[in-house]
């Protein structure tokens, strides 16, 4: 989705402003929101790609004007209602009126250590990798209206495969609830001037983590 979330290379957002002695959370509800999200993923309510897709689907003005955890809270509301895990009127009322669905897992407080470990996204390869380290590749000029992890700023540009990272869950299908459809994942490096033109910093290289369907072979 060519959304507001895809920010690489945009102008106009101003300076980076680090906060001295920043607290882990700026308000108690931020911590609750983070923990809710973590717990929902652990119990298998939905996956991280569905989460990201729902954040990206927030209207751009709302996305930009909401704090980070507010986006998460809005996303959780949207996803749990879309999946029928809770009804909007229940959330508005602040109480459940109907029994919940059965989810794959439960999360007891004693098991929280497990919920804090990220799951593995490795999956058995369906076939050999198409590219090897050193290959020149062109990021495809694709503009799916649905979730993708190919940022706009590399599309159409030529880079070099630096490393193979194994075969991973493919976010583009996972976000749609269509399954893992695992793909080879590559670190692909682009020269700054390839991405940003002749005026770019000549010392800059930028890499992305690219799934195989994002890439075509490029002639050298």
């Amino acid at each position: 989705m060519d959304g507001i979330h895809d920010m690489g290379g945009m102008h106009g957002f101003g300076k980076v402003e680090p906060e001295q002695n920043e607290p882990v959370f700026h308000a108690a509800w931020e911590g609750r929101t983070l923990a809710l999200q973590r717990a929902l993923m652990y119990v298998g309510a939905y996956n991280i790609d569905q989460m990201r897709a729902a954040i990206e689907a927030l209207p751009p003005d709302l996305y930009l004007s909401s704090s980070y955890y507010k986006r998460w809270a809005l996303e959780i509301e949207n996803v749990v209602t879309a999946l029928g895990l809770a009804a909007a009127e229940e959330i508005n009322a602040g109480h459940a009126r109907h029994a919940g669905k059965t989810l794959p897992r439960k999360l007891a407080a004693a098991e929280v250590a497990n919920a804090l470990t990220r799951g593995s996204y490795f999956r058995p390869p369906p076939g050999p990798a198409r590219f090897q380290a050193g290959d020149r590749v062109r990021a495809r000029n694709i503009h799916p209206a649905t979730h993708t992890r190919l940022p706009r700023y590399v599309r159409g540009h030529v880079g070099v495969v630096e490393a193979l990272r194994g075969c991973h869950v493919f976010p583009d299908t996972s976000a749609l609830g269509q399954g893992d459809h695992q793909q080879w994942l590559y670190t692909v490096v682009f020269d700054g001037q390839e991405l940003w033109g002749a005026d770019a910093d000549p010392t800059l290289t930028v890499s992305i983590e690219a799934f195989e369907p994002y890439l075509d072979a490029a002639s050298s």
Partner: protein, 207 residues
Amino acid sequence: MTHGHDDSAHGSELSEMQLRVRALETVLAEKGYLDPAALDAIIEAYETRIGPHNGARVVAKAWVDPAFREALLADATKAVQSLGLISRVGDHLIAVENTPQRHNMIVCTLCSCYPWEVLGLPPVWYKSAPYRSRAVNDPRGVLADFGLQLPADTEIRVWDSTAETRFIVLPMRPAGTAGWGEEKLAALVTRDCMIGTGLPRRPQDIA
């Protein structure tokens, strides 16, 4: 953005969000999907145990132990796991090493991907539009916002975390630390130097 400013500017949003998130949690708990006590435990872990002090131990160990450094650069998940700092390290952790020729910087332009297990939760600036937009085309400008200027001929490599791989920067060991033990070295390792927006403290900075 100072904490005080944040409180006053977002006072109304804060109370609205407090109510909204409480309603959401109540409904999802009543549905039987989650236990509020588990949420308490998750929050407690991020507020107390999971933070950049874990990453600092990893970096300090790599500075004193060449075999560990090599293992870390080869497979950071496995190497960090071997330290037993935290219950378990998820797959796909990758360590990238700064050298006199190259400076590495980590970003997630699409959202906020960050190596939680070794650095904790990301700071607000890491998740902000200014950082996410500029890191990939004006990294030196971003570093200047952090008060950091690198030599003009240092190669700058920006790693955009667009998949489930997660990156931690292994910074260069500061001069004047010969003979220092791991614990003393770890005190020089800042969160920002493991993201690549800073350098480790120097011995004179902590004297």
